[in-house]
Structures are given as C-alpha cells and as structure tokens.
Symmetry: C2
Subunit: 173 residues, 2 copies
Amino acid sequence: MPENVPLDTVDLRILRVLQNDARITNRDLAAAVHLAPSTCLDRVRRLRDAGVITGYTVRLDAGALGRPLQAFIAVRVQPHRRPLVAEFVAHARALPEVRAVFHLAGPDDFLVHVAVPGVGDLQRLVLDEFTARPEVSHVHTNLIFEQWDGPPLLPPVSPRASPPSPARSPRPR
Amino acid sequence: MPENVPLDTVDLRILRVLQNDARITNRDLAAAVHLAPSTCLDRVRRLRDAGVITGYTVRLDAGALGRPLQAFIAVRVQPHRRPLVAEFVAHARALPEVRAVFHLAGPDDFLVHVAVPGVGDLQRLVLDEFTARPEVSHVHTNLIFEQWDGPPLLPPVSPRASPPSPARSPRPR
DNA sequence: GCATGGGCCGAACGATATCCGGCGTGGGCC
DNA sequence: GGCCCACGCCGGATATCGTTCGGCCCATGC
C-alpha cells in the first residue's frame, strides 16, 4: 500500500538509529538526530502512519534458543495455481520451525527458511511436512553455514547531515 | 557463543511479546507475563546478557523506502577457499542493496538477498557487482514475488501458562 | 505586504525505568 | 529432620522519560 513515501535526511537518520536499537528512548533518539523530543515523536509517528515503519521486533539468537541448524528448503508446487499456492503457504507458515516463506519466480516456486535443533528435525520436516504433501512435486534442501546482515535498509545518507542547524524548511512532499 | 540457554515459560512469553512489539513499555510487558516490572526487567536483562536477545530493531517496508523489488541472487565462488569467500562476503555485505548474505552447503555457495528500486538496478547489481568479479563463476537470480514471516521464533508454549500464580520456584538451570 | 500552512520547539504533567533492600521458597548439606 | 544458603520475586522510591499542547517562525502563494 505505501509506495515511495518521501523521506528527508532526518527521517533516514531516525530509521538508521532505530534499526540499530529500536528500544532507544525517544529523548536519546531526538538527540541523535538533533531534534526536540516532541518533534522527534512527531516524525516517528508519521513514519509509522505512512507505513514505512511496520513494527518493532527483537533480534533473537536461534542457536541460543536451541535451534542452531538453519536451512533453505526449495519447493516446487504442481500444479502451480492459486488455491494450492495459498494452501502451501498457510501450511508452511504455521510450522514452528519456519522463519520465512518466499514465493519465487524461477524453477523453484518457494524458498522456505527454517531453523531446527538438529539434522533429524530437518529430515522430519522435509519428509513429513513437505514431500508428503500431494501438491509438492520436488524438494531440495540447502544447509546454511553462516549468515550476515547487509547494511541498514537505507539509501546512502550524505555524511554532512550532522550539524544541528535549525533548518526550518518545509519537508519534501 | 550462547548455546542452548535454559528458558522457562515466562522467558518464552517475554520473547514472544517483544517479538511482536519491541517498544512495549517494561510495565506493560510485565503485566503481559504476570510479573512485577522490576522482576521483568531482570528477566529481560538476563536474556540480553545470555545472548538470547541480540538486539532490537525496526521493521521497515522496503517498498515504502523506494525499493519494492526483491530477489535472491545465487552465486558460485571458485575456487571456494577461505580468502576468496571472506572477500566475497565483505564485498556483498557492503552493497547498499543487500539485505542479507547466506553461505550455503550445496551447488550454489551463496544466496544474496537484495532489495532494489527496479529491474535495472537488479541487472546492474548482477553484472557489475557479481559476474564482473573474477572469483564469481556463476550467478543466477530469482525474483521474489511475495514473502511471509513464519511464526514467532519460539518453541511451542503451552497455552495454560496464563494464570498469575506466584509460582516462586527456582528457574531451570 | 499579507494570509496560510506546516514544521519545530519548550514547558508541564502524568507515567515510566531503574535501583535496592528484603522476603519467601526450595534445595543441599550435615 | 533441621539448618543454611542461594535465588527469584516483589514493592517502594527517585530520577528520568513520554506525550500533549499552545505558540513561534519560516516559506509559500496571492
């Protein structure tokens, strides 16, 4: 729904800071972007209302939670029609081992990102939850050795945007 | 580093709530899990110190940020040796379009999750940033139609854990 | 020059985070 | 069986914070 909301430099800085620590106090966030707390609150609320910020969440260590093994399971669904697709997605999303489901364009229709305690659980998942389903025509599994985040999800911000100049100009529309 | 930290039902409930809204006040979080605010603060701090909680972040809408197109780029690196692998990962992670990098066991060595403004950017990324590199032997791109989150990253919690019984027993070790 | 809209700010009030001392329970040890 | 210790939990107190509100100031359009 939200498409290409106009963001200025201050918005981007806010998002960058929040992405690094979403539980920062509004006061500290305001200081970090050189705004008054009240103004900063306005900005954040606007970003939420605009749909840019869709929520706040906690980053968890899957290994510490007893699920150190992660993998991508590629799945082909045949026939590849809406009812079957929807059903498959619903089924996959409901599995507690599933972290994310991607519907792809390509030879494989889906990529299912899973986190499990051990190899046995992975096997069970593939055999009982995927290949056992009639609409699933093909499955292959890729173990994840290691993973890394990319940079914060932001257009490059010019580094000169630091000085606390009031700059009381209208925001881009 | 953190491996299989013991978690009780209350911890799991805390994580579930935080995963749904990481900016909830400690007071409300405490109420949601039937604890005193001070005790709840202790719990959360312990989860952070134990490495279960690795941080708090904001969920952003890539489309609203002007990058509605997402894809997985599968990459083969040859020869597949540590120095080249490290170099490739560093390069990929530094690209602003990259959301995550996965090192895989399988025919493809890496899966790079990217978000871009349009098809042209995707093409540029593949040609200039991946196939142009000498260690990259093969690249193929899968567009992401749609994606969904799985359930909260938690072992199933028994639903009976709601009543506010003091239950002043020692936590599992 | 004047009216208008919007962004920004500061003060104030209510709510919150956080620390601390103490209590009660359960388990280990003798 | 009885004692001691460790630990989880709580409630109160203080400093800090979130949030609202009214008003200022600049930029724009007429």
